[in-house]
Symmetry: C2
Subunit: 191 residues, 2 copies
Amino acid sequence: MSAAEHTPPADDIGTRLRMVRQIYGLTQRELARRAGVTNGAISLIEQNRVSPSISSLKKILHGIPLSLAEFFTTNFAAADQLFFGVGDFTEIAFGADISMRMVGQSMKNRALQMLHETYQPGADTGLDMLRHTGEEAGIIISGCLTVTIGAQERTLQPGQAYYFRSDIPHRFRNQGDEPCVLISANSPPSF
Amino acid sequence: MSAAEHTPPADDIGTRLRMVRQIYGLTQRELARRAGVTNGAISLIEQNRVSPSISSLKKILHGIPLSLAEFFTTNFAAADQLFFGVGDFTEIAFGADISMRMVGQSMKNRALQMLHETYQPGADTGLDMLRHTGEEAGIIISGCLTVTIGAQERTLQPGQAYYFRSDIPHRFRNQGDEPCVLISANSPPSF
DNA sequence: TCCGAATGTTTAGAATTATCAACAGATTTA
DNA sequence: TAAATCTGTTGATAATTCTAAACATTCGGA
């Protein structure tokens, strides 16, 4: 271990609690009401002016709700960015006529990968079908996309969607004459 | 969720702390000394007569040592049985002349599988080599065992050992004229 | 058996935490 | 602008936790 480790911003209980509370959009008073403690107690804890008893912390977390194990385990720093602008997407190369833009920078330690994809007319992921672990789903935004899943094939229109286990061989292609845009998700991230 | 869930024996902090302390073979006084608290405090906490503050619990766990996250996450109930008699092994069928006896009953939620294996003369796991995820290792106790790992093959004598990634095709057989006994381990459990 | 050491438990008091109510600043509403 | 919230913070007091020391019990060894 290096001594100057990348500091987790919420090593102290107070900051950690404040982060959680704000992520869940609660005020000190609202959380206090749900948990059955006073707002003052939460204030003092969040300022690290007192170290709560397990029973108090348990009550407070119950109002979120969150278990002690989740509270101490979850990496809230990883969830620090909740909203992503166009500039916060990462382009993933997949041929010249397929654009895949991933929400966020790195999928390390994430359970989900969300993509904004564009298939130009004629684009095709190829005859040797894709296969990987996990599950995936997508919804067509505009244009048409021909999706082959195992033995089944269908051309999806805007508003339609697919969902399948990713270990079933699959293939995507745009047989129309206008670009196809879709939003898709993989779990766990496949690249 | 069912209401009458299988009760984890250490849902309360006190019992949980007592289990951990005893697993690590510490007395209240010894742990208190290491942690910089009094033995009385530990006694009261273990009896659930007080609910420790986070700072106290953190100090105490530091003396074990264990992090708060580990303390609340780890399933100590799974590690309740620490020692296993001959009767605590589970026989795993693997042909008539190969005996595999596993330490413990079930490998659910375990990271490691420990086996006591006996290969009768002529025993062979077969030409179509074994492959699975994880890693495995073993030490020969008596007799000889011919181990094939990928392109390499070697006949091991008592005291010798192997260690390889289990996704490399592998095969075991006893070409000698006396039974071969060995101890082996898989991580994660392969069956 | 008796003694000594080791273990966990208990009690009174010091230290810390939680409550209640009041306070100050920011935002909304009339 | 002023009134009315709503936010987080703070002080005095009540409640709880932690310490220090004594107590009770068990286990071995002389």
